[in-house]
Symmetry: C2
Subunit: 372 residues, 2 copies
């Protein structure tokens, strides 16, 4: 299941397995129900939720301008969208009777997998990058996972070795192009369900894109709702990749099912990926497009969000950066913000921060800063 499709995959491209459902048996009022909140509300279109939840999902749509909303995924149990994936992936591990979970991650995914593993009573091994920030290392280790750094070239082979020798269930891709976890990616559909339940199908959804799993999940969710007659359209889905990498845009430009690129430097480390996957290409070519955004554009979008009271990781600002880079689509637009500002490398000293114990000293600084 996690090796990709044995029939269609080649030495150059791995094709993922996809979950199908008996859509004809879906109960009416799928979008209206309150259910238990979180992912359980949508259980009838998800793989079996064997692993206990942490209240993931039901994140707010925060309006930041006329017809523009931020889907704030930092309001999840481990403060990123990855919790939707890991609830489903950990459920697969429980269902398969695995004794542990193995994951390769630069941050959010690893911490989230560790949390859901702990919650389900499973061991967890995290392979991370050698330049992972200390705060993110502590985050990934906080749930009792065994965290190891490995050079980029060694991470996929090591993950394969772990899976082969320990029987731990992998929730990261081990294939030549990205396939990911077939159950895990289904969790991202719930973002589409929640948006549709809140405001219907918007004109467009812009989102940060690394391997493109979020893109595929959101696309599949909206496609299901449209097929079921519950919404009147599938939004335009815009994949926003860092200009320093961008395997999806490269694949589309070259007409390939998935491409490989040589990443340049970028601070958007969560989405700077050397290899793409077929799922992303399928989604972007079916109902959307792919674009590149520079670190400078992401920083401007990140600053725009600060002024709206939202502190996001640089990568998480890629969706809004993409929207800002072009003409606004007609109608409501949602930009998915995937994660909190705590995940970035420290930005260094900010304005202020000086110690003062008299009003005269403080007053002088406030005048200098133009506050008073």
């Amino acid at each position: 299941m996690l090796e990709g499709c044995p029939e269609t995959s080649t030495g150059e491209v791995a094709y993922p397995i996809e979950v199908d459902y008996d859509y004809d048996r879906l109960e009416p009022g799928f979008l209206d129900g309150r259910g238990d909140g979180g992912l359980d509300r949508w259980a009838s279109l998800l793989p079996p939720l064997h692993a206990p939840g942490l209240g993931e999902g039901r994140t707010p749509l925060v309006p930041i301008g006329r017809d523009v909303y931020i889907k704030d995924e930092s309001q999840n149990p481990t403060w990123s969208h990855k919790d939707r994936l890991n609830r489903c992936a950990a459920s697969a591990a429980v269902g398969a009777g695995a004794r542990g979970i193995a994951v390769s991650s630069s941050g959010n995914h690893g911490a989230s997998a560790a949390a859901y593993a702990a919650r389900a009573g499973l061991d967890c091994i995290v392979l991370t990058a050698t330049d992972t920030p200390p705060a993110v290392l502590e985050f990934m280790g906080a749930y009792g996972a065994h965290v190891f750094a490995a050079p980029d070239h060694a991470r996929r082979p090591l993950l394969r070795a772990i899976v082969e020798h320990t029987g731990f269930h992998p929730v990261s891709s081990t294939t030549v192009t990205h396939t990911g976890h077939p159950f895990g990616v289904e969790g991202y559909k719930t973002i589409a369900y929640e948006i549709a339940a809140d405001i219907g199908a918007p004109a467009a959804v812009y989102m940060p894109t690394g391997y493109g799993e979020l893109l595929f999940g959101v696309w599949k969710g909206f496609t299901e709702l449209h097929r079921l007659g519950l919404t009147d359209r599938v939004p335009e889905l815009v994949a926003c990749e860092p200009a320093a990498a961008g395997p999806l845009t490269a694949a589309i430009e070259q007409g390939l099912p998935a491409a490989r690129v040589q990443p340049g430097p970028s601070d958007a480390y969560a989405i700077t990926c050397a290899v793409g996957g077929y799922r992303a290409t399928l989604a972007a070519t079916s109902a959307g497009r792919s674009m590149r955004v520079s670190d400078k554009q992401m920083r401007a979008a990140q600053d725009q969000l600060r002024r709206q009271g939202l502190w996001v990781e640089l990568s998480a600002a890629a969706g809004l950066a993409g929207l800002n880079a072009g003409a606004a689509p007609g109608g409501p637009v949602v930009c998915i913000s995937t994660s909190s500002g705590f995940k970035d490398r420290p930005a260094g000293p900010r304005p202020g921060g000086a110690t003062e114990d008299t009003w005269e000293g403080l007053q002088q600084r406030l005048v200098q800063a133009g506050v008073i």
Copy 2:
């Protein structure tokens, strides 16, 4: 309004102002409605919500054992319960026509106030402690606030000077004993409303307690619901203070409306307070009690939560530490966890973290760690 009650306050004790409502005019079905989600759902029992929201509230109850739930307040816009307070306090600043907000805080409160100020288009000045961790300083500065460190003894006088000279609206107490913001504290009532909507009134609610504003808000919320006939009881409300300080427990022991203590060392910096407030004493003596928990007890509770997939600030584990320290009440119990683990001072290196690029090396470490 923010100076405490001018008639009853004395040189030793400041009594806060409290908001009252026309409860007879409340629409039926208060607990049933879905509304807009977040705090807006409860607007009919809150001060006017002039300031725009960020999707605060509607946090999950995560079951961690038979009849024990964690109310995970880290799933808020700035990842703590303070967002409920600051939506209401920033609304008061907007309603008063203030050009800015001034706040004194060791972390969560300052960052949250900064976020809601930015969202409302207001300036913000944050006074913080001189030993605030760098990551928390960055967090408080992330929303464009002007952040200054000041020695503990200087913070209240400096806040008073800022308010007097700049006209900024204070959302922290400036009085001799803690009074806090009369509108802000109303925001905490929504925690009681959400719990009651999810599971009814539980047998008990345990919560971290510093100045006791959370305690008062939750008490008032449950008291309102009971008075309105919407629940069958007011839960026992248990205030869990760090043993290193504990002004509420001291006040109750001494029969005072509010007390002052000399804090000892504690890593639960968010709730280690030298001065209490009358609101907390009122709540604890009306429908609950107060207890002290040691750093060691909080660490054990924090570790228990890690194993459940919840990474919380040490202070946030005080509620569960309190529950663990005594006999379990009969019936459902909720422990409020106020904030995420990102807010703690770095704990230093964790197990693992070594760099490996071969299976043999990794295998050896996994065997040593007892994983395989």
